[in-house]
Symmetry: C2
Subunit: 341 residues, 2 copies
Amino acid sequence: MILAIDGVGGDNAPQAVVAGVMDALQKTDMEIWLYGPQDVLEKELDGYTYDTSKVKVIHCSEVISGEDNPIRAIRAKKDSSLVRAVMDVKEGKADAFVCAGNTGALISAASLLLGRIKGLYRPALTTPIPTDKGMAILLDVGANAECKSEWLQQFAVMGAFYAQKVCDIAQPKVGLVNIGTESGKGNDVAKKAYDLLIHQNDVNFIGNIEARRVPYGDANVIVTDGFTGNVILKMLEGTAEVLFGNVKQVFLQNLKGKLAALMVKSGMKELKQKMDYTEYGGAPVLGVDGIIVKAHGSSDKKAFSSALRQAAKFVESGVMQDIKRYFEQNAISGGAAAETV
Amino acid sequence: MILAIDGVGGDNAPQAVVAGVMDALQKTDMEIWLYGPQDVLEKELDGYTYDTSKVKVIHCSEVISGEDNPIRAIRAKKDSSLVRAVMDVKEGKADAFVCAGNTGALISAASLLLGRIKGLYRPALTTPIPTDKGMAILLDVGANAECKSEWLQQFAVMGAFYAQKVCDIAQPKVGLVNIGTESGKGNDVAKKAYDLLIHQNDVNFIGNIEARRVPYGDANVIVTDGFTGNVILKMLEGTAEVLFGNVKQVFLQNLKGKLAALMVKSGMKELKQKMDYTEYGGAPVLGVDGIIVKAHGSSDKKAFSSALRQAAKFVESGVMQDIKRYFEQNAISGGAAAETV
C-alpha cells in the first residue's frame, strides 16, 4: 500500500509530518510518498534511521499555503504537493493522500480533480470526534456550508459505512442534528431530512439529536450541514480546551493543588486522551472518487501517525468500493450526476 | 416593581419557583405575582415566613405543559399562567414576566400578545452564557430557526444594548458566528450579515467569530441564527457536563483521588460556578414589546432567584426604552413593520 502525505502542510510541517511517518511505519506496513521541496524533506529525513525502501520523496516546487484562495491555488500551482499528490491518487499510483494543509484547497482539489462518486450529490468532510462513549463520526464539517436535505440523507449512508468499516462501530446509530428531538422541529432542511431518513431502512436512524447529547455519544454518526457541523466540532474543541485549562489552573494555584494533581495524574491523563481528537485520526473527504484524509492543521507527530494509520485502514476496509456500489445501486432519482460541484 | 412569575413552569415547579422567589425577595426590593393554581401555590408558600404584602397569588385554572403545541396552547388556554401573565405585562400591570415553562409557547405568546417593537423584524431569544472571560450574550438561541441577514444585524444592536445596560459590559464586542474569521466565509446569510455589520458604526463589531473562540470569551455579544445559537448553547452545556462528569469520575475512582478532590474542593467549586449558566440569570425575549425572561427548564432555586433579579435589572436599566427609541430612529428601510410574525 502506498500512502501519499503532504510534507509541507500544517502548522508543524515538516518536522511533525516526518516524525508521524516514522511512527506510523513502525506500527503498520505501508510505503510512504512524501510530497514537497526535496531539500526541505530530505534534510528532515536525515535525522532518522529507517528502511529507505519504504519512504520516497516526491519533489514539488510549489506550496499551497493556508492563505491561498483554494480554487485559484489548485489551478495555478500544478506543481504543489497538494495537487501532485491528489493527481497520483487519481491515477492510481498512490492509494490515499493525507494532508494537514489548507482545508478548502484540499476539498476543492479532491472534488475537482478526483470528481464525485457516481450518484452522489456532494462530498462531505467527515471527522471523528471524541464522546463520552468513545469515537463518533460527524459530517459534514465544512465542505458544504449550506446543504439540501437529500445531501444529508446521503451523508448518513456514507457516515454509517465509514463508522462500521473503518471505526469498527457495529450497527452505528445515526442521528440528525436538530434543535429538538421531535419530528417537525428545526429549519426546513432538517425537517425534510428527517422525513427522508425515517424511511431509509438501510440506515439505523435514531431520529433527531440535540447538540447537548452529542458529547454524551448518543449517536455514532452525527449528520448535519457543513456550517452546523463546523460549529459543533469547534465548540467541542473550544469548550474542552477552556475547561481543561481552568482545571489546570485549579491544580496550579497552590501547593495543595499541585500535590492533588500528582495524585490524579494518571486518571487525568487518560481523560485528556479520551477527549483528544488527535488520537482519533484525520477527517476523510467522503464521496470523492479517491481516498483523501484531512489531518488537523495543528497535527503533531501522534496525530499524523494516527491519520496515516486511519488512511491505511480506510484503504484496506474496502469501504470506498462499498460506498460506490451503494450509490450505483441506489441512485437517488434525478439530477445527482448532472449537478456540478 | 411588580414581577410576574409562572408558578407552575419548569421541571422543578412549584418548589424551586417559590424557593427562588423567597431568595430573590431577600436580595432585591420587588413585588412578586405568582401565577398558577391557587391551592398548589398557596400550599407551597405555606412552608415559608415572608412579607405577605410582597407576594400575591394570581389563580389560573389552566396549565401549558412542555408537550403542548405552542400556538394552539396559547390560543386555547386563555386562563393559563403563561397567557395571563403575558397579558398583565401587556396591560402594564406587571413590569416583567419570568417563566421556566414551554419555550415555544412563551416566545409565541410574547410575539403574538405583546407584538414586536416598532421597526424590528424579529424578536430573539437571548441567553447569557459562561465563558473564560465571564458572561457573554448569545442570540438568537431558538426563536427563529432560520434568519435573514437583516435580522442578525438587528440582533447585534439589541444584544449590545442588553450586554451594556443589563450585564454591565462596557463597549461590548459583537461577533458574528461563522466557520472562518475572514469576510466572505460561510453561508449566504452570514456573508451578507458580515457586510451589513461592518458598516454598522454604532455597534462595536469585531467581525466573524469561529465557534472555537466562543468559550474563550473573545466576543461579549455573539450573533447568529436560532438554529446555530441553539447548537452553540447546547454544545457548551453538554460538553461541560460530560467533562465535569469525567473529572468527577477521576476523583472518585480511588482513595487517592478522593483525597485529591478534597484538596482542590474550593477551586473546583469556583470553577463549576464560573461555568454554571444558572448563575447568570434567564434568557430575555428581546424585541417584543414587554419584558419577558425565559428561565432554564431545569432551573433550581438559585436559577429562579437570579432570573428574577436579572428581570428586575432589565426593568430598572431602561434598556427596553433604549431599544425602542433606537429602532424608531433607525428604522431599517422597507417592510419591517409590514411583515407578520
